[in-house]
């Protein structure tokens, strides 16, 4: 039997789904829904207009939290990276803050911002800020000295130097860092919504479980989280593939 190449992964997914359904059918009274139940759950959400509302709520928080972190962390990181003493001063502190799970900030976020969108946005901001700062610092650090010297050699003014050497040289690394960090933002928003607000996909999951064990909606929420996360990742990857960003230092 020869299957066309594009069909094989689809078939694999279909087999997994079928196994899942069969496993559920054989254990009636199970809380966990099968794929059909999940599909019905998603339809249910659509009909009540909750799907769009929650997706938009989550994306809204991610956009603000991630956007603010990018606007603050990248310029700061580039500046610190360029001035070696700045990097030396900031590095240990950033390294200490980075492994603190953004969720551990929840008590402080609620203390400062109450149970609100602002708290969730703050958590996402914290979760993205430190990784982005590190990415920007190391991106500057990794510019080969030849580029810098060549730029100086041509007598560029500082602003021309930033726009024509520094910026293009750090872009590829920054884009990779941005993609990974957006993944973190998506992870944090779900967790934050489970604890500190009452809308969004994370809230959907906790709420569906607490209010009546609607596990079909729980898994529907997970599927949506996966699908949107995948789309965000693909969008960032396509940005990385844009021609003028495409080179990278490691290519020699």
């Amino acid at each position: 039997m020869k299957l066309p190449v594009w069909l094989r992964p689809l078939l694999f997914i279909a087999v997994l789904l079928a196994l899942w359904q069969v496993a559920i059918d054989r254990h009636p009274g199970q809380l966990l829904p099968g794929p059909i139940g999940v599909a019905k759950g998603i339809l249910d959400l659509l009909q009540h207009g909750l799907l769009l509302k929650y997706v938009v709520a989550s994306l809204f928080r991610v956009t603000w939290g991630f956007g603010l972190a990018v606007v603050v962390a990248i310029p700061l990181g580039l500046m610190l990276g360029w001035h070696r003493r700045g990097q030396m001063a900031a590095y240990p502190i950033v390294q200490l803050f980075r492994p603190i799970s953004p969720l551990a900030w929840i008590p402080l976020a609620i203390l400062w911002f109450g149970v609100s969108d602002l708290a969730a946005i703050f958590l996402i901001f914290v979760g993205c800020f430190f990784p982005l700062l590190l990415t920007a610092m190391s991106a500057v650090h990794n510019i080969p000295a030849v580029y810098v010297n060549a730029g100086r050699n041509f007598g560029l003014s500082s602003s021309a130097f930033v726009s024509r050497v520094l910026y293009p040289a750090v872009i590829p690394q920054l884009l990779t860092g941005l993609r990974l960090t957006l993944g973190i933002a998506w992870l944090v928003v779900v967790a934050a919504e489970m604890i500190s607000v009452n809308s969004g996909l994370g809230f959907l999951i906790v709420d569906a479980r607490n209010a009546g064990n609607r596990y079909d909606l729980v898994v529907a929420g997970m599927v949506l989280i996966g699908a949107i996360g995948l789309m965000l990742d693909l969008a960032m990857r396509s940005l990385e593939r844009v021609r003028s960003f495409h080179w990278s230092i490691s290519e020699d």
């Binding site: 070696r84 799970s101 008590p107 997970m222 996966g226």
Partner: protein, 260 residues
Amino acid sequence: MNSVAKPRRWEAFFWPAIAAAVLLAVWHYSVVLTGTKIFPSPTNVKTGVIELLHKNVLWADIGDSLRRVAVGFGAAVLVGIPVGLWLGWSAKANQVVNPTLQILRPISPIAWIPVAIIFFGVGDRAAIFLIFLASFFPIVLACVSGVSSVSPVLRSAGCNFGLSSTQLLRRVIFPAALPQILVGVRVALGIAWLVVVAAEMIAVDSGLGYLVIDSRNSGKRYDLVVAAMLMIGIIGLVLDFSVRRVERIKSVRWGFRNAS
């Protein structure tokens, strides 16, 4: 690459010390000036840490968190590396399985919490399952991309000396992909540390994450909250540092651009 003359040796300690002092001063004076009774000053946090140490709560919680990470992350390494090597090695298998991985990967490990609770109840095993999930995907994907970027020249060289497939995998492909695999392992360990704290805030009642949320809920002890956060940061730093030490070993160091 730098903008000014090479810093001297003492500056490596001097500037971080200055930065830390400034940070502490800003923190201290903003607590004093705003006159807040809830948010702790650095001194309060220090007392908090000492209190935790004396009550032995801290050590038990640290032990619990570390044990969960060790088991969940260890299992992810043990399962993820062989799976990743296999997928990287066999283009066909990768073609079939990769889309499924890509769909599962972006599901926030936190979102699995309700499902984990169904399977394992509220307890250790649920948390370990979450950590396993969170670290499994980055490790597998790092292996796949590590193996597929092994230079064909090295593969050919290995073949030339009459190696069988398993020998080739063990003696050429694995060591050649190891630097990239280690990066994946380090990233995964970082994620595991983020997730254990989150899982402990929701799904169990011990560990550093529980300490954070419990200190807040039972009596608004924000000094203990910040003390626990500090411990989380320090331990995460130590974990990261120990994987970086492995990256410094000579037989993998060649793969890291900034080393040596």
